[in-house]
């Protein structure tokens, strides 16, 4: 696997951009997809957001200064694109984004790309009830086992704040799962 510094150098050179970008996509497409999917829930939206994310990365690669890790930068773009899609759709449907998320979860039962059982559906419904920041932290920690330090770089939040967010999220979800 090519290291980030070498890859960035190739990405910022027009002659090697396209080839290097294919490499970048191959390395990060699955991780980014699942990160996006957990926010927007449906495959179709995840696919749209993933492509938009890569296009933004492609268009703005020259503005990447290397102050953060490349994947942190891409995760940040992916996160913003995902939240932006949810908010835009909520606005279009004149709903609060929390209500829209509940509606998406309800539709998940008939989604061909959802293979979860009752408890997994209940888990998704519980996550959707969390504040947006807690949702992000919970998904990255509980499902992706990401380190707080990396999450901190992506969400630009202190590690202490993230730990608190995760703790509150866990408690709340456990309560929902164990309730009738």
């Amino acid at each position: 696997m090519i290291n980030d510094a070498a890859l960035v150098a190739q990405l910022q050179d027009k002659r090697t951009l396209d080839r290097a970008f294919r490499t970048l996509m191959t390395q990060y497409k699955e991780r980014l997809y699942w990160h996006i999917r957990k926010i927007v829930i449906t495959h179709e939206d995840a696919d749209d957001v993933l492509q938009n994310t890569f296009i933004k990365v492609y268009r703005n690669i020259n503005s990447f200064k290397g102050n953060s890790k490349l994947y942190s930068w891409m995760y940040r773009i992916a996160t913003n694109e995902s939240i932006s899609l949810i908010n835009k759709r909520a606005k279009t449907q004149q709903l609060e984004s929390e209500d829209l998320q509940q509606q998406i979860i309800t539709n998940l039962q008939s989604d061909v790309y959802f293979e979860g059982d009752e408890i997994q559906l209940k888990l998704q419904r519980a996550i959707a009830q969390l504040p947006q920041k807690q949702q992000l932290v919970f998904n990255m920690k509980y499902f992706d086992h990401m380190k707080y330090h990396d999450i901190s770089e992506i969400l630009e939040t202190s590690v202490g704040g993230l730990k608190a967010n995760y703790h509150h999220a866990v408690k709340k979800i456990e309560r929902i799962l164990t309730s009738n």
């Binding site: 396209d18 294919r22 996509m25 191959t26 497409k29 699955e30 997809y33 699942w34 999917r37 957990k38 829930i41 495959h43 696919d47 993933l50 492509q51 890569f54 296009i55 492609y58 061909v112 790309y113 959802f114 293979e115 979860g116 059982d117 408890i119 997994q120 559906l121 888990l123 998704q124 920690k141 509980y142 499902f143 730990k163 995760y166 703790h167 866990v170 408690k171 979800i173 456990e174 799962l177 164990t178």
Partner: protein, 196 residues
Amino acid sequence: MTNKELRHSAPKLASIQKFGTGFALPIAYFNTIEESFFNQLFLEDLSKEPGYTIPGNYFKTIEKKLAPKLQIEKEKIATNNVPEGYFERLEDLVFERLNNEKKPKVFSLKKHWIAVAVAASLLLFIGIYNPFTQNKDLKITEIEAWIDAGYLGLNSYEIAAVYETEIDDLEIDNQINTEDLEIYLTDEFYESIFYD
């Protein structure tokens, strides 16, 4: 929060962690992402780029190139409505005409000396004899009567000489019909009977 802590503080959540999200994907989805991406990139560029190029300094020189054509169009528009600068010169044109109209017409005394002589003698006579002092409303009929009485002192030839037109050149308006003539003569006849 470690796994151990999770099991301790949220045993239900910890027990289902291994099942994941339950989300699925279309078969071989990740194999097509790169191609899909480059296709979308191509389409985006296609919709932004018109596909043809322009000379490098085209937009910098367009005003200069267009200026003469715009001037011609401007002149055409001016011709279709009013001449160029018409409204700027309008006041001068109007005052020029007004000044011309104010200038008195020159009356040639040499050319009309006889008429002048007639008028002068008439005025002199009026000044001396002043026959109209009792009646300020001088009427045409009274002047005619005064001339008929022979006070003017000009014969027919002298009067005729005032006019440059020869007698032979005069066109007589012969529009009197026979009926009118008969009525006139009859009236003249009866008048002569009554007054003579």
